[in-house]
Amino acid sequence: MPIVPLSDAIREAVGDGDTVALEGFTHLIPHAAGREIIRQGRRDLTLIRMTPDVVYDQMIGMGCARKLVFSWGGNPGVGSLHRLRDAVEHGWPAPLELEEHSHAGMAAAYAAGAANLPFGVLRGYRGGDLPARTRVATITCPFTGEDLAAVPAHRPDVGIVHAQRADQEGNVQLWGILGVQKETVLASRRSVVTVEEIVDELTPVPGAIVLPAWTIGAVCVAPRGAHPSYAHGYYDRDNEFYRAWDAISRDREAFGAWMGENVLAPVPV
């Protein structure tokens, strides 16, 4: 599989109206890919992500999204996502439909998608007001009679993740906190993986997993492509940026100016 420029990979993989999952549980969040989707002006996306933090706050604020499927939408350790809140509370820049799950439900839905099953099953969603507001059903175990929760599998049109590195053939290696990245790639019809670097050989790293090249649609080199998130072994999480984002994103105009200067203006690499 060829290593392709990020702009080409996103143009090829992501169309208006698609269901797209950019994953990365605090670590390896594919920010460079998110910014490229914004630059290409995609619209009406259904965005799936367990923790829609700054990357989705930017995409939602720039009008890329029609719907959000998620389980926790905040700025970790800081507070609210102001663009997400503005969309939900005031319909700005466009109304945002929500499909809300628990983390356990989202994880089960990704795992089911990767396993080519129609739904995931878990002991969850019991009681409370969430079940009435989301897509979950009760099924009975045929062996024990226990009632369990069933969540529809995630089958995104496009799954996008970031990883530490790939070899020339496009085999991808990632390590550290792995989140649901493997499940996202395997559950999606098309996939794009951005990496910090291409190396000659994927030498073993403790706890690392490899996604073989033939499971991936496109591999793109995007150094610091997870920033302000981090890439274990390459650079740390930019906690200062997450704190700064609170002020940048609070105000529509400040947000627009920041995006214009930092995302729309630079020519994609």
């Binding site: 549980f25 605090t26 670590h27 367990m50 923790t51 998620f70 389980s71 926790w72 939408g73 905040g74 970790p76 350790g77 800081v78 609210s80 996502l81 997400l84 809140r85 939900v88 509370e89 809300e100 628990s102 983390h103 356990a104 994880a107 089960a108 990704y110 795992a111 878990l122 002991r123 969850g124 969603y125 019991r126 009681g127 409370g128 007001d129 969430l130 507001r133 550290g176 906190i177 792995l178 989140g179 649901v180 493997k182 499940e183 706890g207 981090y230 274990h232 740390d236 999480r237 906690n239 200062e240 997450y242 704190r243």
Partner: protein, 233 residues
Amino acid sequence: MSYTADEMMAIESARRIGDGTVCFVGIGLPSLAANLARRTHAPNSVLVYESGTIGSKPHELPLSIGDSELAETADAVVSVPEMFAYWLQGGRIDVGFLGAAQIDRHGNLNSTVIGEYDHPSVRLPGGGGAPEIALGVADVFVMLRQSPRTFVDELDFTTSLGERVRVVVTDLGVLEPRDGELTLTQLHPGVEPEHAHDATGWELRVADDLRESDPPTAAELSALRSLRTKGET
């Protein structure tokens, strides 16, 4: 030695973590309390973060549940589906910490919305791991600053159930379930009962054996203050 209400809250919560306890920890006060316990009386407690790190021993407090420090110092790092399926649902966690925007007298929590779900006045981050943590661990510890806005007669939304809430540690005192209702069992030093009543949006029950929390010891305070959040100067 003087101390803040938040410090009292963290110390009182930490005291309730027995040595060897496996704790599911969130960011903020729970992380502070669990790390304090690990550094003082409970060196063998196991800190589990929902990002997939098991047995993390951070030198500095993380800002997010996925900071690299948590993975680097962990006994094991697992994927998020594995964390929720094998470890939480698998029944391997003793204590889960939860916070919320609202709590009711039964320990049910709201971290979803203020106002109507479809037209919220405040859209909160949402439940995250809370719905399954609340019913998947043996004991739920809640840490919340007490005010009438937070301790409400009726939740705007029920995100997680209070069945397994064993203790609620606040900046004013401690509430524990007695006969199915959260009851004030401790007041922190210097807090008057009226203060707790005023900060509660329902008719607060007070235990007959209400006692005063032990003030923080010098050792507890010094251990607590040695814990800095990563990135803070």
